[in-house]
Subunit: 360 residues, 2 copies
Amino acid sequence: MKLNIAVLPGDGIGPEVTAQAVKVLKAIAINFDHVFTFSNALVGASAIEKFNDPLPEATIETCKNADAILFGAIGKTSYDLDPYAKIRPEQGLLRLRKILDLHTNIRPVIAYDDLLIKSSLKKTQIKGTNILIYRELTSGIYFGDKHLSEDNNTASDVCKYTREEIERVAHSAFKAAQSRKRKLTLVDKANVLESSRLWRRVVQELATQYSNVEVNYTYIDNAAMELIINPKQFDVILTENMFGDILSEEASVIVGSIGLLASASIGDNHVMFEPIHGAYTKATNKGIANPIASILSAAMLLEHFGLDDEASLVRDAVEKSLTLHITTPDLNNKYDNITTTKVGDFIEDFINNPDETNLN
Amino acid sequence: MKLNIAVLPGDGIGPEVTAQAVKVLKAIAINFDHVFTFSNALVGASAIEKFNDPLPEATIETCKNADAILFGAIGKTSYDLDPYAKIRPEQGLLRLRKILDLHTNIRPVIAYDDLLIKSSLKKTQIKGTNILIYRELTSGIYFGDKHLSEDNNTASDVCKYTREEIERVAHSAFKAAQSRKRKLTLVDKANVLESSRLWRRVVQELATQYSNVEVNYTYIDNAAMELIINPKQFDVILTENMFGDILSEEASVIVGSIGLLASASIGDNHVMFEPIHGAYTKATNKGIANPIASILSAAMLLEHFGLDDEASLVRDAVEKSLTLHITTPDLNNKYDNITTTKVGDFIEDFINNPDETNLN
Ligand SMILES: CC(C)[C@H](C(=O)O)[C@@H](O)C(=O)O
Ligand SMILES: CC(C)[C@H](C(=O)O)[C@@H](O)C(=O)O
C-alpha cells in the first residue's frame, strides 16, 4: 500500500515522540512492502515562532494532500501563563480539526495486565478494562462564539450542537458498540444543559436503530466518579467535545500513564492520529517522554487503512516493551536509563524480528 | 443561639438523610442550650407533584426568612430519561441558588484514616488528603442563555462570567488558603475558552493581594487526572460552576463514598448546606442511604455561625461512627444491618454522651 503521511510534530515533546512513531511506521513499511512517504509541517507554538500563525497555509495544504496525518502535541508554558495572548498554539490544533472536519475522535482506554501495578487504582478494579471513548471533536463549546467585552470584564463561550453533528459521531459509536460488548453510555449534563438534552434526544432516537445495543445515560459528574470506581462497567462511551476531553484524560489513571493513550480523529475526507497527551514542555529533550501513545496512534493509523496485521504487530511490540520494562521513567522503576529513543528502537527491532527481540 | 432553619428534604433519599441531620442538630441544641427551630418546605420533583413548580413561592419565602437552609437532594429518574420535560426538579435547586445569590460553594474533600481502605485509590496515595473545593455556584453555563430551535434540531447554552462574579468567590478561596496550606489551584480551560481566560486574568491579578499564597493554574482535563494520581498536591481548588460539579463528584472516590461529601453554599445574605450527592432514587426508603453527607453539612452550618465546639462534636461523632463501622452498606462490609436511621441514632447518642457511646 502507498500512503502519504503528513507529520506534524508540534511543540514540546511532540517532535521526539513523533520521531519514534515515524521510525515504527518505516519499519512496518519495509517489512510489509508498503510505500509510506512522510511530509513534515509546522503547527502550534513552533509555527507561531516562525510564521506568527499556529496553522500556516502550507501546513493545511500538506494535511489536505495527505492520506493521513500524524500529529505530535502542541502547547507552551508561556502561553498557558498569558491569558491575554491572542495568538495561541492550541488554535492550530483546533482549526486543523475544524478545517479537516475531523468530527469523530476515538480514544481507547485499555488496562494492560503488565501495568496494573502502575495504576493509581486498585488492581482488581481495573483488570480487564477496555473502553472506547467517542468524543465529538469539531463542535460544542470549543467552537461556539466567543466573546470578550471591550472593558475586558465579561467573557463568554457558546456551547452549540446541531442534530447532524450529534448523529454522525453517535452512529460511529453505536456501530463500534455492535462489534464489542454492545453497551453504549451517553455522558451529558441533560439535567442542566439544553445542548445535552438535544444529545439525549438524538441518542434515544438512534437507539431504536441499534436495538441490540444496551444504552445507558449518565451525567458527567457521575461519570467522572464511576470511571474510577468501576471502569469495567463501560464499553463505548459517547460524549460531546469538552466532556470527552475531561473524561479521556481522567481515564489515563486506569492505564497507568497518560503517555500511553492514543487517539484517532476521523472525518469524512481526512484522518488524523494523535496521542491524547500534551506538549509537556518541561520534559522536552530530556529523553523521558513516553513515545507509546504516539506509536499506538500510528497503529490506529495502520488499522484505519485495513492493515490489521501490521497494527497487531505494533501492538505486540508495545506490549512486549511493557512486559520487559523497556519503558520510560513514567512507567519504569526497574531500569532507569531507558530513553524515548530506546523504547522506539526496541519496538522497531521487534517489528524487524518479532521472534528474537529481547532486552539488550 | 437562636437559629431558624429552613429544611428542604427534596426527593429520593433526601428526606431520610435530612431527617438524621435534623436529629443531630436537635441534639446539639439541647446539649448546648441553643434554640433551633425548623420549617419544612418542598422542592424538586416532590414540589412539582404538588404544585407543578419545583420551587414554589412558599418555599422561597421560607428560605428567605430562615437564618440557614438545610437542603436534601433533588432529582427523579423519570425526568432524567425525559429530555423533553420542560419543568424539571433541578430547576428548583438552580433557581434557589440564583434567587438567594449563593455564589460560593465550598466542598471539603477529606480522606478519613478509617476509610482509606474503602477508597478505589491506593492508600499511600490518598492518606492525608485534605482539599477544599471552591466552586462558583450562580453563574457560568448553568445560568447562561439557553436556546432550542423551533425545529428542535439545534440547541445551545452560554457560559458567561463577569469579573465581579469571579472576584467574590476567588477572594473567599484565597482567604481560605491563607488559613490552610497557602496553596490555591485555579482549574479552568484557558487554552480554549474565553471565559476561562477571564478567570485566569482575574485570579492572576488577585494573587498579588495574597502574596503568601502559592497559586497554580491547571486545565480541567489535567486536573481530572491529577486529582486521582496525586490528590495531596492540592490545598484549595478554585473553579467555575461546571468544572466544580465534575471535580467534586470525582473527588468522592478519594473519600470512599459520595455519601460522605458535604457542602456549604454561601451568599451575602443567605446560606445553604447540602450533601453533594443526588436523590439516588433507587435507594429511596430502603434504609441504605448514607446520612453522613447531610450530617456533615449540618456541621458546616454550625461552624458557619461560629459554633465551633458544636461542629467539632458532630465531626467527632461521625469519625467515631466510621471507626466503629456504624455505617451504611456503601462503607460497611463488617455489619450488614446498619440503616440510615441507626447511623443517625449513633451520632445523636454520641452527642448526648460523648464519653460512653459504643456499639450497642
Ligand atoms: C490541547 C487541547 C486544545 C486539546 C483539547 O482540549 O482538545 C487536548 O487537551 C486534547 O485532548 O486533544
Ligand atoms: C443536581 C444538579 C443540578 C447539581 C449540580 O449540577 O450543580 C448537583 O450535581 C450538585 O453538584 O449540586
